[in-house]
């Protein structure tokens, strides 16, 4: 499954980069969401994937029974998902506020901080 995940991650990353390069800020956001999904999958797959054996210690035993899923990347991914959501919400708020003030979602026109000299 790691190989298939790698292919899937490639597609997700390609799609997210393509979206992030678009001029529309909403598309950029969509790209960001896809990218965080892809990143989570990369971390998960790097820790190797195990079919149907959650990392639990059965009652009555001191260690897991047989081979179980790698718990470390799972812990990392779990927090990454929540943080990714925080980041996304913040960016969405930014986009919303920017739209409310500038009346545009075209990132080419959102250059108040770095106005072009010839535009003056």
């Amino acid at each position: 499954m790691e190989a298939l995940t790698a292919l899937l991650v490639g597609v997700l990353v390609a799609a997210s980069v393509y979206l992030m390069l678009a001029r529309n800020f909403l598309r950029f956001l969509f790209g960001l969401i896809l990218l965080s999904n892809a990143a989570n999958l990369v971390i998960f797959a790097s820790g190797r994937m195990t079919l149907g054996a959650p990392a639990l210690v059965p009652y009555g035993m001191d260690t897991p029974d047989g081979v179980v899923g790698n718990a470390l990347p799972q812990a990392l991914v779990l927090t990454a998902i929540v943080i990714g959501f925080g980041l996304l919400a913040f960016t969405l708020a930014l986009a919303f506020e920017a739209y409310r003030r500038l009346r545009t979602l075209d990132t080419d026109k959102m250059n108040d901080a770095e106005p072009r000299e010839d535009a003056k």
Binding site: L56, V82, F85, G86, L92, A93, F96
Partner: protein, 140 residues
């Protein structure tokens, strides 16, 4: 969304989701669950409620501001970490007290700093997400 059925169902659903979220929080140390999942579930519950009855009512049902909730949560998590310092252990070392026995096997249940920390996580996630969502609902 002025559907009476949805509003009525939402009240029930919120109650169920909240109970379930606490359940997930408490069982998290031994089975799938924990502070993150519990907090997210709780947040979903309140969001359903606010979609049905509006953010004002949802906020009233929460009884305190979600920002304050999140900050209190972070404080609880920090306090859970500080407990160990008073017992000479490094920062954030889990502390366990067995009630009704002197070890895991004999005790009826335990009081431990790890669960307190998880409760902090629960409150931060719940409060943080709710404050975001309410802000979006009110401002857009």
């Amino acid at each position: 969304m002025n559907s009476i059925i949805f509003t009525a169902a939402a009240r029930l659903l919120v109650a169920l989701l909240l109970v379930f979220s606490v359940f997930m929080l408490l069982r998290g140390h031994n089975l799938p669950g924990g502070g993150f999942i519990g907090g997210l579930l709780g947040a979903v519950g309140f969001i359903v409620y606010s979609l049905a009855c509006g953010p004002k009512e949802a906020k009233a049902a929460l009884r305190c501001s979600p920002e304050a909730l999140a900050m209190v949560g972070l404080g609880i998590a920090l306090a859970a970490g500080l407990v160990s310092v008073f017992f000479g252990d490094p920062f954030f070392t889990g502390q366990w007290y067995w009630v009704g026995g002197d070890s895991y096997e004999t005790a009826a249940f335990s009081v431990n700093s790890v669960l307190v920390f998880d409760i902090g996580v629960y409150l931060v996630v719940l409060g943080g997400i709710l404050s975001l969502t309410f802000a979006f609902e009110e401002e857009t």
